[in-house]
Amino acid sequence: MNIATRVAVPDGGGMAVRGNVREDLARHLAAGGDSALHHSPEAVLTAIRAAGLRGRGGAGFPVAAKIEAVRAASGPRVLVANGEEGEPASVKDRYLMRTRPHLVIEGMLLARRLVGADRAILYVSDAPSARSVRQALNERGSPCAEVFDAEPGFVSGEETALVRAIDGGPAKPTAKPPRPFEQGVAGRPTLVLNVESLARMALLTRFRRGGLLVTLSGSGRAPVLTEIRHGVRPADLAARHGFDAGRGFLAGGFSGGLLPPSAGDTPLTHEAMRAIGSTLGCGALVAIGRDDCPVAAAADVLAFFDRANAGQCGSCFRGTGAMAGAVEALRAGTAVAEQVDRLAQWARQLRGRGACGTLDAACLTADSLLLHFPDEIRNHLAEPCARCARLPVGADTRFRVHPIEPEEG
């Protein structure tokens, strides 16, 4: 949907969300920026551990554990700031790089010190983000980090794909182990952290509390980028910003599957979202409105995965193709019951069979549709859906959100 995204600064001012004027070095420093660099690495690590900071890229792995693993390794180490936001419904990473590049750099300098890395690389495909960070590095006058121009793509920011790309290969995942913390860029132990995770590390030393960037979209409204505290309920968030989630949500960008309207009461925390079989992921929520249809939404997301997978693992390219086909048949009103049974079988059987999480995300999309929307499935088997017929089907997903264009300050 081609509607400009707006920035909603939280009441009382945000930590990471400060408006949409690009922050230059003078502004960054005037607002207390770079203060994180005055703390000892031990004190910062203690603060990260105490806050229970988890990675904001999608997987939600504890940041302190990642840092400790690389810190404990011997020999030269590398830090990679992951700014490759492949989730179509998320814009928060590009917001940070385009609007608050110095906060990202501060986080990189901090993380680099924490693990004693001798290289710090920002990995990003978005040209305005890369330009903004390069300009910020120039403003600082010291070449403290490199910017790697990545290929855009859903799998491009997966951590082994990113390592492979920086080492000169294709931006496609590799089998694990080894993980980058064991053997990453140029074979060295590599700390890969999402740009919001890095910004959060810096902010933690100033605000002593966590927060979460969220991209809210769907139901025909202009998407909103904002910042919340953990534990806010999706229903309240949707209501506050005028979104209709009458038929549920897509959670965690495209990685947390479909959720029924009742999930609007689940607090947005890592644990609570896990407990309902979903994920907080990158913090993107798509509201599925009363004019929309969960079957059409699932068909759109699975068609996206069918195009966006790396075409490497047979289980993934055959499996996402097959699942996308079955849900598309449901959407089009041509499916038979047997196809739904097979869809259920694939959604369970194929989990964990790909080299990266893409196949699992596709399985979760199918599985959550079957689990939470049995009545809709039955209706779609009985007769074509009028809502599905009205919704657009295009070459790209209809849930893509446009990144924020910063205003001139």
């Binding site: 089998a175 490497q312 693992c313 289980s315 055959r318 499996g319 694939w346």
Partner: protein, 63 residues
């Protein structure tokens, strides 16, 4: 002994599941996955044979 199938290499030759069906499982499309558990001692020999037999060397010995 622990093994895993590199999903990016497996080409659905199915030999592994024929040789050691207790260790390797095929999906509906013929691609293999290995048990996430330790391979029982009694199955280590056939598992080794499956590793040797895989035409694309997709099976990795982790421990």
């Amino acid at each position: 002994m622990r093994v895993n199938v590199d999903g990016t290499k497996c080409a659905a030759y199915a030999l592994c599941a024929e040789i050691a069906p207790q260790v390797f499982d095929l999906d509906d499309f013929g691609y293999a996955v290995a048990t996430p558990e330790d391979v029982p001692a009694a199955l280590e020999v056939v598992t080794g044979e499956a590793i040797e037999a895989c035409p694309v060397q997709a099976i990795r010995r982790l421990t």
